[in-house]
Symmetry: C2
Subunit: 248 residues, 2 copies
């Protein structure tokens, strides 16, 4: 498989696409997802793990609100991973992650994930490369465990924004009273580490691609949401699920 180079991948929607048409199509997909999620839950065989990664202000919360937010919350849960708690840091880095792996029939969304342990931690040199590459192998083993041993379909999305789009959104957070709660004075300092983040992201993509990453152009929210809804729909459809028969 050819290597993923973020600088060669567009952050914008393909020019030929019509925004309103795509938004209408997304609405149709979300209606289809309703029935597909019901089947997933009823058949109780497969589960889906959606990993949402991306730089600050890349639109992770928006995906969760607009795509997975339309699903039945009985069968869809979201977990945000922040800095590890004291208890979590007592354990290996996958311990707190494993606890939130989806049970059969469930769709679990990770807002950030185990990948942070090879991203922010590398950028700030809290871990060295040797540990980072060991962790990548552990991540591959772990994702295999979920998929082979519990029929979990893992969808790993990277929300690919340009540094300009990020900057604009971060500034908005300082100006828009409805967005100020999201502002973190640390974000601007982190944004200056852009190139370093791109390097470690590329390593994550290229070394943890047994279950492939999906790079989502994310400068336009309507396109980003369309790609993610479409991927989820196609994944669920490919499972050829059936409602279980009445037990006698």
């Amino acid at each position: 498989m050819s290597k993923i180079r973020l600088s060669t991948i567009s952050t914008t929607a393909p020019k030929k696409l019509d925004k309103e048409k795509i938004k209408a199509e997304t609405r149709e997909i979300l209606i289809e997802l309703d029935e597909l999620q019901n089947l997933l839950y009823a058949q109780h065989k497969y589960s889906v793990l959606m990993v949402i990664q991306g730089m600050d202000a890349s639109g992770k919360d928006g995906v969760i609100k607009n795509v997975t937010g339309t699903l039945n919350p009985q069968g869809c849960t979201v977990r945000s991973f922040k800095a590890p708690s004291t208890e979590e840091a007592e354990h290996d880095f996958l311990w707190r992650i494993h606890m939130h792996a989806p049970g059969k029939g469930m769709i679990q969304v990770f807002n950030r994930s185990h990948y942070e342990d090879i991203l922010i931690q590398r950028v700030h040199k809290w871990i060295d490369d040797k540990i980072a590459f060991k962790r990548m192998r552990a991540i591959n083993d772990f994702e295999k465990l979920l998929s082979v041993h519990n029929e979990t379909r893992i969808l790993k999305f990277y929300l690919h924004v340009s540094p300009e789009a990020q900057q604009q959104r971060l500034v908005e957070r300082t100006e828009d009273p409805r967005k100020m709660w999201k502002y973190n004075e640390n974000d601007l300092a982190e944004a200056k580490l852009w190139d370093k983040y791109m390097d470690v992201y590329e390593d994550a993509f290229n070394h943890c691609n047994d279950i492939p990453w999906i790079i989502v152009p994310a400068d336009h929210n309507w396109y980003k949401e369309y790609v993610i809804a479409l991927t989820l729909r196609d994944t669920l459809k490919s499972l050829k699920m059936k409602y279980p028969r009445l037990k006698k």
Copy 2:
């Protein structure tokens, strides 16, 4: 490494050993363990996972009571794994196990463990060999995760009893009012599957030996407890732990 063949390993204490001397030595070791456990907890770097496996009536509960029962319960917890709950069965077989992996500084005891998923499940053909061997690979990955990524020292003990000793203990449970609570009518049926259990245990030992199994002759409780206390003591000593300096 040469293959483990249970039929070639004695289930009894070496004849030359003096029971009373060994019991006195075990008491000394338990006193040493008190200080070593304190160090483990204070240094907060390593942890220990003791996996206790064995046939019914092989003396698992006795080890937990007499060896680990003397440790400081603030730094030592025991988890018994029974048939999976409905929630646990929704997940891959290591999900419920991972949750109880020891945090730094802790000694965690597993009374039965993830190994049951390649033992009882194989004997009763709830899983086929293909799944069993896949699980063994997942177990190796998992144990590596704990040891490489959280400095957990894993001690896997198999309490090796003879079928005659087991039979005698099971009969005792039907006759001794203090032991009747342990009796399970299923145990006698399981005991008839002895040879099948030995086969699947040998597979577990020979395929999941990256972190080596310790086969403990267990017909004599005094010897079994000595071996386990000694192994734990030597493991903790080998860590060359030091009390942390005062933080300034």
